[in-house]
Point group: C2
Chain length 212, copies 2
């Protein structure tokens, strides 16, 4: 029997999106890669969100979110702002320039800079999948914002994410583990098995040992 190669997971294609929600008057958003149409009659869009994300609980409790589709004119700052910090620690909309977002009819902001479309979604079913909840949603509104092509996860990796320097070992000769997803680096001999990236919440399997 052939040996399993989990790098196959990287062959699946994804878009990238800002998922926004509002609870008790407080808005928040995170980066997700899982918005797709899963049925046509009726139209259903599925969205999987990691339970560790603050936005997850907001969508679960309110049953509503907006999905802004990230386009190729997005800068790395958009990913840093919504993906590399948590709404538990900072109010992401407090310091976010007002020209970068607008409020949809459902009362939830959507992003207008570095995006080409947005959807207002109403959750019709939530499937508990362990680390994530899969929200099956009805789109209540959608529109096109620009003609710039959508970003795929592959495009983000090749064209938007800054190339990290190959540090390999630190000046003290320690080993560096780098998250393939967001670039977070951890210094130490062996990454613990239950390690979760503090930035993007991905597990040890998504880290690589950096060799100079």
């Amino acid at each position: 029997m052939a040996e399993m190669n989990t790098k196959a997971m990287y062959k699946l294609s994804y878009g990238l999106f800002v998922c926004t929600a509002v609870r008790d008057g407080r808005a928040n958003g995170c980066i997700i890669n899982t918005a797709i149409q899963v049925a046509s009659e009726p139209n259903r869009i599925s969205v999987a969100i990691n339970k560790a994300n603050f936005t997850h609980d907001m969508v679960k409790e309110t049953g509503a979110c907006n999905i802004s589709v990230i386009s190729q004119d997005a800068t790395f700052d958009l990913f840093k702002h919504f993906g590399f910090q948590s709404g538990r620690d900072v109010d992401k909309f407090a310091d976010y320039p007002k020209e970068n977002y607008q409020q949809a009819d459902n009362g939830i902001p959507y992003i207008v800079t570095g995006t080409n479309a947005y959807f207002s979604l109403k959750v019709v079913e939530a499937v508990d999948l362990g680390s994530h909840t899969l929200f099956i949603c009805e789109p209540t509104f959608m529109t096109v914002l620009s003609d710039v092509p959508s970003v795929t996860y592959e495009y983000y990796q090749n064209n938007i994410k800054p190339k990290p320097e190959a540090v390999g070992t630190t000046p003290k000769g320690e080993i560096v583990w780098r998250c393939r997803i967001c670039g977070y680096e951890w210094v130490g001999e062996e990454l613990p098995d239950d390690f979760i990236c503090p930035i993007c919440k991905h597990p040890k399997a998504d880290f690589e040992k950096v060799v100079r």
Copy 2:
């Protein structure tokens, strides 16, 4: 209130896959665009399949399938063979060249020509979404087959699908409706509201009136 623009649906990004299954010793496969990872602990891959597809019933009844990830070296013939004919009418593996596929340990064929990875999946939950069933699956095996990049749906539209001639009207001056998904053309004044593409099963919303 702004007007809804359903062209936003085309901004969502997808890969393309051959989904294969076996029932009562008979193998079949169809083209799908919906295989993504939806949870990491445990690892879960979701696959949405249109109920009109013969493969849908096979996966539903057997609880197993393989997903072969289509890569940029795939020819249009692969899409025609698995996407533009139904297993109800033809045995897709009867005349399919034997060098193009192999049998996985789960007894189901996977495609080795024009693909870069494959997954063997076991269905753990099936969510009925009307036109489609969303299968939540556990990968029981996966491996990488090549380093050629995966095809996205956008890549298929721009680089693999033959450009149809702009017929606009027929010699008799009739109007032509063309399926944006597979290129199927229908001649007549007005496409019926309940029209379903006989090739790719997409609804009227995915047809465009062709104007010369």
